[in-house]
Symmetry: C2
């Protein structure tokens, strides 16, 4: 502490580089077609001019791209670069004192004040000479000549003053700053560049087993394929299927979540695994892997991607239970611990035991599940209850998958406390379920979306708005009639660049909840087959198609940036506008 620090002559300061999530611990998120707008506070002591540049590169590239930053006023600087390559990028800011620019500006002031300029021109020559010494080849030569001109008293004042202001020569000299006096922001910051659908997507959730041709008939993946044109006509581009794996029979739940299933009851698709297989198998009642691949391919022809559910839990019949008892918690009485949230008990589910000494093998197996479905052509995953598995698992798993397949998209189904939801988004989840489902009044909606659009949340949290899900039939929809369904649909589809509905329950305005103040659907598809009258004349499907077309035609609706709320005379009216990202870029969006 007694000796001056080695870098005591580096006079420029960099502060508050943005975007920045938790000091660079996590990546900011962007998508192809968007820009990266980096801002930083850059200044120095005294009156010298400073200069700075944004450095950026793809993780896999060896060299930095360097983009000059421009001043915004109040010592804030900015550079904007387009994003054209998927994957992890890195960026930082470099800054330095621009002695030559300081000199050039001062020279103009001295000229205007009629001061003596001879000595100043010699000083400029020294500065240019120093730049020449740092430069290479022809550029060094050019700078040498410039220095000679500035210093050549035989030329008289005028030509030397003109030379002093030659912009191309200044630009040239700026390419050779004194690197000893250069400061670089630490740490380098990460950026995750995803594909467009990470930012803009319209989801439709549907239970495959309810797509059968007649009431009571088991639906199959082939029936789903036949249902694709119906989904495409409504304009959705993601079709999300709840788990399609074999379903356990031990402690199977009956209709309306009754404790005991009858012989014909299909059970919950989230009670995964039986003798026919686990997370890498398809329920034989639904079809085969080949059926799934066919569904994926046909959907792609219609502009739709199939999203699968990743629910990392097992039925007591799951093959893991016998093959890997070490992945489950054994109780003091030798039984395996089933899921519970005391006093609630879920005997049809065995949670994985992440504190197991064999946790690393477990993690690798879980990653292999996602990789298995990637191999079948699936690129989008809706992750069930990620907040009940270790945070570190998700960060590792998503990064691992994305290195292999940067197109992969993960939607976090975490309806839990706000900081946990944000943490999951920071860890890498592409999109997140939100509290939108319970935000109904104007004040609630405005406050919530302002929170989501504030820095740094907007940098890492991409909301996906759902008016309903198989788990949530909100009061507003239960009692609001058709108008409520229309309002919630329009809000979801215009407040958010990504939204989804659980259908056909939504377009058919299914609104009867289980008794007792529940948000659960009566006769929920989670526990029984349903047959839906898709062609019912009061269906909202045409309205949905219209809204999705408007979304496709208006770039403003394809981004969460540029959302603005406006005043209305009544609290029963909400008014907001969105503008396209180009127009919003200036405001840091």
């Amino acid at each position: 502490m007694n000796a001056p620090p080695k870098d005591g002559r580096v006079r420029v300061v960099i502060e508050k580089v943005e975007p920045c999530v938790d000091g660079g611990r996590f990546a900011a998120k962007r998508s192809l077609g968007e820009t990266l707008c980096v801002q930083a506070d850059v200044f120095a002591d005294g009156h010298d001019a400073v200069a700075c540049a944004l450095l950026h590169r793809h993780e896999s590239a060896d060299t930095w791209q360097c983009v000059p930053m421009t001043p915004l006023g109040n010592d804030r600087w900015q550079a904007v670069v387009p994003l054209t390559r998927l994957g992890r990028c890195l960026y930082t800011v470099e800054a330095w004192i621009d002695a030559l620019e300081t000199w050039r500006l001062d020279l103009l002031k001295r000229q205007a004040a009629g001061q003596d300029l001879g000595v100043e021109l010699l000083r400029g020559a020294q500065l240019v000479q120093a730049a020449a010494a740092r430069a290479a080849g022809a550029e060094a030569q050019q700078l040498e000549e410039w220095a000679l001109t500035l210093a050549d008293e035989s030329l008289g004042l005028e030509p030397r003053l003109a030379a002093a202001q030659r912009a191309p020569l200044h630009a040239l000299a700026r390419r050779w700053p004194d690197r000893e006096q250069l400061r670089r922001w630490e740490p380098t910051l990460p950026l995750e560049v995803e594909r467009e659908r990470a930012r803009f997507s319209s989801w439709y959730e549907m239970f495959p087993r309810s797509t059968g041709p007649a009431a009571g008939a088991q639906g199959t993946l082939a029936d789903c394929l036949a249902r694709l044109p119906y989904v495409a006509r409504m304009g959705f581009d993601v079709l999300y299927l709840p788990p399609i794996h074999p379903i356990g029979s031990a402690a199977r739940r009956g209709p309306n979540n009754r404790p005991a299933a009858g012989p014909g009851d299909p059970g919950s698709p989230w009670a995964i695994g039986n003798a026919a297989g686990g997370h890498k198998a398809i329920d034989p009642q639904l079809g085969t892997l080949e059926d799934l691949r066919r569904l994926v391919a046909r959907a792609a022809e219609l502009g739709i991607e199939i999203a699968l559910d990743i629910a990392l839990q097992c039925s007591p019949d799951h093959p893991y239970v016998r093959a890997h008892p070490e992945w489950f918690l054994k109780r003091a009485d030798g039984s395996i611990q089933h899921a519970e949230n005391p006093p609630k008990q879920y005997p049809d589910i065995y949670p994985l035991h992440f504190d197991s000494p064999h946790w690393q093998e477990l993690w690798l197996e879980l990653a292999s599940i996602v990789e298995f479905w990637l191999e079948q052509g699936v690129r989008i995953f809706r992750v069930d209850n990620p907040h009940t598995k270790p945070f570190a698992l998700w960060e590792w798993l998503i990064a691992r998958v994305r290195r292999r397949c940067p197109e992969a998209i993960f939607l976090a189904e975490a309806f839990t406390r706000p900081k946990i939801m944000y943490r999951l988004a920071k860890l890498g989840f592409t999109q997140s379920y939100t509290y939108f489902t319970w935000r109904n009044t104007r004040a609630e909606l405005e406050a919530y979306f302002r929170e989501l659009r504030a820095a740094p949340v907007r940098e890492f949290f991409r909301p996906n708005l759902w008016p309903n899900t198989p788990d949530i039939l909100g009061e507003y929809l239960q009692f609001g009639g058709r108008a409520a369904f229309v309002a919630r649909l329009v809000l979801a589809a215009t407040l958010g660049a990504s939204y989804g509905i659980y259908g056909p329950a939504f377009e058919l305005m299914e609104h009867v909840a289980r008794e007792g103040g529940s948000e659960e659907y009566h006769d929920s598809e989670k526990y029984q087959l349903r047959h839906w009258e898709l062609e019912r004349p009061d269906s909202l499907r045409e309205l949905i198609a219209l809204i999705n077309r408007i979304r496709r035609e208006n770039p403003a609706l394809q981004s969460d940036a540029g959302l603005q709320f406006h005043r209305t005379d009544s609290d029963a009216l909400i008014a907001f506008s969105k503008c396209a990202p180009e127009a919003a870029a200036g405001s840091g969006g």
Copy 2:
């Protein structure tokens, strides 16, 4: 990236530890008698209970003090510790999953639901047994016994359930958490603990040479000593003297900053150095080192500290110029570069050349100036224009001085752009001049003080409010009459825990500025001697004494925390309140 990370089983997360200045790059500031209130977001996946603790220690201590944190709701936790030792402290947060507490809470829920508890008691016994294995000595023994009780089925259920809820045993077990699953926040954060006057101070600035007994007579340090009772009666506790060093005669400025001084003109005290000495000498016309030490001692008896001016620049006559020409910039014509801000020229000042190859020797010499005055008993320094010297110099110099003398206080006289002022405060300046001098309307004052009280600014920037300085006679005082002086005095003394006035110009309501819209005083003391009629009946000195007494009697006015603005019906009225720090602590102040 392919193998799971080593710490994959550490499930707890820590985020947003506060106070935190630039990610821990700089210290938060507190003073003796204040508390350190640390908050953090702490949570984990799933439903397990978490626990966390604040770790803190003085920089010179080897071991951490550990204070349990308590939940505030929404996953925010807090601990508060009193600060009793001067100097640099460190702090961080540790968190862990509290498996035993989770078990205890779940057990209560299971009991209430009438569930089977036998197996659960065995699980508790296992958890306690694991804690016993980590514990030492008698505590291990106690935990062993507890585990045996929980597991002993021969006792029947009731005594074991009672044992399960024994608070002292839980507290004991909590002392032996599973350190493998413990997370500690990185980096450790610094805290600078200063003495009370860093937080609460009342400054009076006075030119020693104007304290002579009669008009035109050169004042001396002995005259200053005679003036002390006058200053003490007004209730000030810091008496700040502009530079008291020998003054250069080369290019000396005349009255009202005229380019050429007459033979009797004293010159500016900031043109430091002549043949009689430089920054470590006292102008012989003012007195001797012995006079200064006597002034410091007598002031201390009256509760006043003497503050000196640190102005790191030289007159052309300064001994450094001949002894160390390498510390000045030589121009292309061989002359030494004088101060300038083109086109403005300051030929009576040579700036130090911090880009000199000999900058390290220069820094050491500058530090030795401060150390020299420390040896004379001075502890408070007002630093002139710190923003025109390298930031790194101040960070190094202040840290060096404070290690040697943690009582040292530095006031930054940087009237410049906001980010530069904040940077200087982060680097270690105890207090800072502010824009208060130009904030007159209610809207201006409210906006500015809200900015200063927002995190993180409030953590490192201690405002010192000056209604006037020898450089600044604002328009409001020039034209507002007595009411303006009273208003600005009361605002400064109640909005800020630290404030100061430049007297006797202030209490005598000197308000005539140099012509042409200037904020410079007419016949400024900077360039000539003034004689002040201290006993003028309209003097504000009694009002000042009253206000300073109110400040001393009311702890709410001795801290910048607890400031609140209130609504008034007129924009010409400002209303605010302050509450004492104890009451404000809950709100993060």
